[in-house]
């Protein structure tokens, strides 16, 4: 349907000029507007002005965007990300985040929001959790520059259910669980060799470890968590409900007792 082209019986509305510039008019409507513009100097001036402003604004945006968007920062001079697949390749060329998922220990060290950094660097890992498909295996993470034994990652879970996934069973080491009255969760590696990584996701934590590691992991979850599940190498080894969690002081699970090694 062709809308009336005039405001007061004579002139084209600004909105119609924009629709013309944006190619939003049907052919018959466009023809009527163009005919009017040929005949009406006043509307032609208005159309020219809107076109000039439109082009100018677009030009300003493009120039302002000459700087990299946040996701492209830090690319220069850094190596190609080790994450396989196209998803995270461009977003993971930062100095400290080259592993398959978020190296939350390092994130903590540089003061980046784990959630944000997780988004930037851990899309593939988190997507696999939602889709149920296995994440594309990552190449071995490069060695971190500092010992991680004292490093700790803190984050705030988003829901009442918390899942801890340990990617591999180990011949040595434990997972130690505790509950804290505060709102935050935390995790740290003890006795690691720098290859262990944490991936923080909205409903929990993934520990990316190596079967040959002898590290232990201390995990503290907030009291607000009502369900906690621990899986090791894809196998559920612990499931705690609200009552069990409320009475939990500390629980240690021996990684050496888990199968699938």
């Amino acid at each position: 349907m062709i809308r009336p082209l005039v405001n007061d019986g004579q002139h084209i509305q600004d909105g119609d000029i924009i629709r013309l510039l944006d190619g939003e008019c049907v052919p018959a409507e466009e023809r009527l507007i163009r005919e009017h513009l040929r005949e009406c100097a006043e509307c032609r001036r208005e159309a020219d002005e809107l076109e000039r402003l439109s082009e100018g604004f677009g030009r300003l945006l493009r120039h302002a965007d000459a700087v990299p968007v946040p996701s492209e920062r830090g690319e220069a001079g850094h190596e190609e990300a080790v994450v396989t697949g196209v998803l995270t390749r461009r977003w993971t060329r930062t100095r400290v985040l080259k592993a398959a998922a978020v190296v939350a220990l390092i994130i903590t060290a540089v003061g980046v929001s784990p959630a944000r950094a997780w988004f930037i660097d851990g899309w593939q890992a988190i997507r696999s959790l939602f889709s149920g498909e296995p994440a594309v295996p990552a190449e071995p993470a490069p060695p971190v520059e500092t010992p991680n034994a004292a490093a700790i990652v803190r984050f705030t879970p988003t829901g009442p259910t918390f899942t801890i996934e340990v990617s591999s069973a180990q011949s040595n080491g434990t997972v130690s669980l505790a509950v804290d009255p505060g709102p935050s969760a935390s995790a740290r590696v003890l006795g690691g060799d720098g290859r262990e990584e944490f991936v923080v996701f909205p409903g929990g934590l993934r520990i990316m470890n190596d079967p040959t590691s002898s590290a232990s992991y201390e995990i503290v979850v907030p009291r607000s968590i009502t369900t906690l599940e621990l899986t090791i190498a894809g196998r559920t080894v612990l499931s705690l409900d609200e009552t069990e969690l409320s009475g939990l002081e500390r629980r240690e699970i021996d990684l050496a007792q888990q199968p699938n090694r």
Partner: protein, 165 residues
């Protein structure tokens, strides 16, 4: 297009749009993150235009954040080059770039959230019907609002473009 392809295809554009919209690169990344998360949790019922869906969700997330922080937050104007860029190689260009970013953000700050959204989504190439759906207005009124926003910024656009030339 699956979620991986959507992420690859649109993440940079979405963050750029949100950075323009908010003037805050961290908020932009947070909102983009939340948008992709929602896409995973609750994929759009209609898959015919996932880009428009993503931008609509992201825009609503920003609007909700601003509503919650209404008493405190104003459109953030980058304090300098560091807010929008890492060191370009040329210090002079860096200064000019920072100044332009600041000018554009100040310009956008003069618009209402709806006007800003409409203008920026138009800059992303969305159709008027898609913009209308994102901001909750009629397709017919989008053109009018674009024109109004451009006229509101007329003097700044002209002077800044002239300075660029």
């Amino acid at each position: 297009m699956d979620s991986d392809e959507l992420f690859t295809e649109y993440k940079d554009d979405l963050v750029r749009y949100l950075t323009r919209l908010t003037g805050d690169s961290e908020l932009a990344q947070d909102a983009a993150q939340e948008s992709f998360l929602r896409m995973l949790r609750q994929p759009p019922a209609r898959q015919d235009n996932p880009k428009a869906w993503l931008y609509t969700v992201a825009t609503n997330i920003v609007r909700d954040i601003w509503r919650k922080q209404a008493s405190a937050r104003r459109l953030a104007v980058p304090a300098g080059a560091a807010a929008m860029a890492d060191s370009p190689p040329d210090p002079h260009a860096e200064l000019e770039q920072a100044e332009l970013c600041r000018t554009v953000q100040q310009m956008l700050a003069k618009l209402t959230h709806k006007e800003r959204t409409i203008l920026l989504m138009r800059g992303e190439g969305f159709r008027h019907s898609e913009i209308a759906a994102a901001v909750g207005t009629t397709t017919k009124s989008v053109g009018t609002m674009i024109a109004r926003a451009l006229r509101k910024l007329a003097s700044e656009i002209d002077s800044t473009v002239e300075a660029l030339s």
